[in-house]
Symmetry: C2
Amino acid sequence: MAFKIGLLGLGTVGTGTAQILLDPSGRNPLLEEIVIHRVGVRSPDKPRSVEFLSGVMTTDLESIVNDPDIDIVVELLGGLEPARSLILQAINHKKHVVTANKAVIARYGDEIYAAANKAGVYVLLEAAVGGGIPIIKPLKQSLGANRINNIIGIVNGTTNYILTQMTLYGADFDDVLAEAQQLGYAEADPTADVDGLDAADKIAILASLGFGGKVKREDVYCEGIRQVSAADIIYADKLGFVIKLLAIAKGSRGEASETLQLRVHPTLVSKTHPLANINGVYNAILVEGSPLGQVMFYGPGAGAGPTASSVVSDVMNIVAILKSSGPVQTLDPLLSCVHQHYCQITPIEAIETRFYARFLTEDVPGVIGYLGTSFGQHQVSLESIVQIGFQGELAEIVVVTHNVCEGNFRKALAEIHSLEAINSIPSILRVL
Amino acid sequence: MAFKIGLLGLGTVGTGTAQILLDPSGRNPLLEEIVIHRVGVRSPDKPRSVEFLSGVMTTDLESIVNDPDIDIVVELLGGLEPARSLILQAINHKKHVVTANKAVIARYGDEIYAAANKAGVYVLLEAAVGGGIPIIKPLKQSLGANRINNIIGIVNGTTNYILTQMTLYGADFDDVLAEAQQLGYAEADPTADVDGLDAADKIAILASLGFGGKVKREDVYCEGIRQVSAADIIYADKLGFVIKLLAIAKGSRGEASETLQLRVHPTLVSKTHPLANINGVYNAILVEGSPLGQVMFYGPGAGAGPTASSVVSDVMNIVAILKSSGPVQTLDPLLSCVHQHYCQITPIEAIETRFYARFLTEDVPGVIGYLGTSFGQHQVSLESIVQIGFQGELAEIVVVTHNVCEGNFRKALAEIHSLEAINSIPSILRVL
C-alpha cells in the first residue's frame, strides 16, 4: 500500500521535495512507498523542472486538503495565508501535515497544534528552522532528558552571508545587501531577513520546544543588522570578536522562578566560540543543557535541496508511524506538541548581558572620565574603555562592559547622551 | 501507568542515567512516567552517589533480563560479555533494549537485530556513538531522504585530546598519553582508543545506518595515532593542516557499482575544514549527502552526563511509542534495523586519497629527483615535494600527493624504500 501525499506549492522547495520523491533509489527504502497524489500550484502554466502525470497538478488548493485519498499534506506555499487556513482544513480532514512555514507556526502554532491534537494528527516542521539541519526532532526527542539552559542560533542565512562578506571585505551593509540581492541570497524586500523577523520566528519555535511552553511571537525582542557598520566589525575584530546575528533563548529549567529570555540581535561573539566560525549562508544552532553540556548542529540553512531533505524526512517519519502503528490512536508525545502554559518572558530591560558601545565625542579632556563616572553611577561595570582614534574633529571611543543589567545600561546611556561632550552613540551591540 | 526499566551496570554512565531518572523536574514530562525497577551491579558494596530503595539493587543480572515487570533493559556494562548474552536474553523475553555498547553492536549487531526483529522489540543505541551528540537518530530519521556520500567523524575523545595537546604544546605522543592517563582521559590500557579500535566500532555502526547495509567490523581498515610525531604536526601546520584521527565511511549511494570505503586513520585536515576546529575531548560527525550537502553534529563525545543524556533519550523514545501505540505490533522501520545485505567494501589498496609522507635521506644530490621519478613511474602525481631541513646528517623531505590510488602509492614507496639514498620513511599519513 502506498502512502499518498498532497503537495501545496511547487516553488524552489516544492520542486526539491518532488525531485527526491520521484527518484527514491539509493535513499531510505521507505520512500518507495510514498506517492505524490496531487500538487497544488498557483500558476499552472509556469515551466517546471519536474513532470507529473496529467491530473496531478491543480490550482484548486482546497481540493487537495479535502481529498479523502490523501494521507499527508505538505504545505510549502510560505506566507501566512492561505497557508494557515489550508493547514487547518487539512487537519480538520484528519490529514497529517508537514510544513516548512516558520512564519505560520511561530504565529499560529497554538491554534494549529490545538486542532492537530484534537484531530489526532501530526504537524511536523523540521524544515522550518535550519533548512537541512536536523534540529527540531533532536530537540524534541534526543535532548529531552536535559534541562535546557540556552539555545543560541545563527538561523538566518541571508544576514549571516551579509555579515560574513562585511567581515571578509570590510564592506558596508548597503553594498553587500545589494550584491546579495543580485546573487539571490537576499530578497527584493529584505525586511524579514535583515530586520531579524525571520530569525525571531525561528527562535520562538525552538524556544517552545526546548523550554516546554508556548511562546508568543511578539515576545521575541528583535533587532536587525542594518545598524552594524564596517567600523564596528573592525573594532570587534581588534577586540577578539566577530559580529553575528544571534537568536537567543535563555532560561533556567528546573528553577521555580523560571523565566525565559528571547531575543534576536547582532552580537559580538568571541573568535574562539564555536558559533564564530559559521560563515556565509550556513546556519548553526548551539544547545546547552544539563547534564549534556554543549552540542551544536551545523549545516545549510536554506536552499531547495537541504530544505527538501528535511521536508521529506518528516513525511517519512509519519509514514513509518502509519506503517508500524496503523491509524494513529494516541499521538506520540515526543512528536506532538502538548504545551499548556505560556513561557514567562524576561523583559529586555531586566536581562543581564555584556555590551559594546561606540561613542563620538568632542576632543576635550576628561571625556573618558565622564563616561566612566556615568556608567559607574548606574552600576555598569566596564571591562575596557578605549579611545580608538578620530573621525574628523571627533574622538571615537569604544566601551565594553562586564555583565550588566540592560535597564541600568540604558539609563547610563541616556545620561551620557545628554552630556555636552558627547556628539553621538553610533553603535550599541551586545556581547555573548 | 509507569514504565519500568532494568538498569544493567551502575558505573559512570549508569549513575548518570539514574541521576536523570531520579530527578525529572524541568526535563521532558515523559520522564515522570519512568521508574527504575531493578539495578544490576557486580559489586553491591561499592559506595554509590545514587540511592535506591532496598531490593532494587541486585548482583543477579539475569534476574533483571528475565523480570516480567520490566519493559526496557538498559545495558551499560560495557565489554562484550556478559553484555551480549544479557542483551539477547532481554530481547528473547520481549524487552526493549537501550545500550551504549558500541563494541557489542559493532560485532554482534547482526545477531542482536535479527533477534530483536523476531521478538518485535527495539534496540536503541544513541549513546554508542558521539556520547551526548544526537547522531544515530538523525542519521536514521532525519537524513534518510538523502543519498549519503560521506560520513566523517572525530569519534574518539581520548585521541582527539592527545592530538590537540600535541598540536598546542608541540609535545610528543608518549608524554601526552601519560598526562591523559593521569587526568582520566585515557585508560590504563589505552589500546582501544589510541589504536583506533573504538573509532572503528563507531564508524562501522554509522556506516551501516548511513549506507543501508550490514557492515562487518573486521572490514574497517584501522590505523591508530601512535606513529604521529610532534614533527609531523609541525610540518602539517606549515602546510595548512591539522592532524586528526578520522573515522571515514565513503560511498556512492545510488550508483550500480556502489562500494564502501571504511577506514580509521590519522589524517591531515585543512585548517579551513569544519572538522579542523574540533578540539580536546569533543567529538564531531560530518555527514554529506545529496541533496542535503554537509551537516555537522558537534558535542561532548563521552562523560557521564552527555552519555546518560543519550541513554535516557532512547528510553523516552521507547516509552513514547509504547504510550502512543500500545504493545508494538510492527516495528517502526526508521527505528529498527532491517538491512538484508552486507555492504561491499573497497579494499584499502583500491581507495583514492591524498598522501603526506616524510623521508629521511642521505644528503646527496638528486634525491628529490629519485623520489619524483619513482612516484611518477607508479602514476603517483605530486602536489609538493619540499626539503624541510636536516636531522643530524640526514635530509628531511616531505611529499604531498594529489589524489592517487593507495596501491600505486604503496608500490612507489616500496621501490623508494629500497633506494640507497633513502634512510627511512618515518611517517605516511593520508590527507582529507
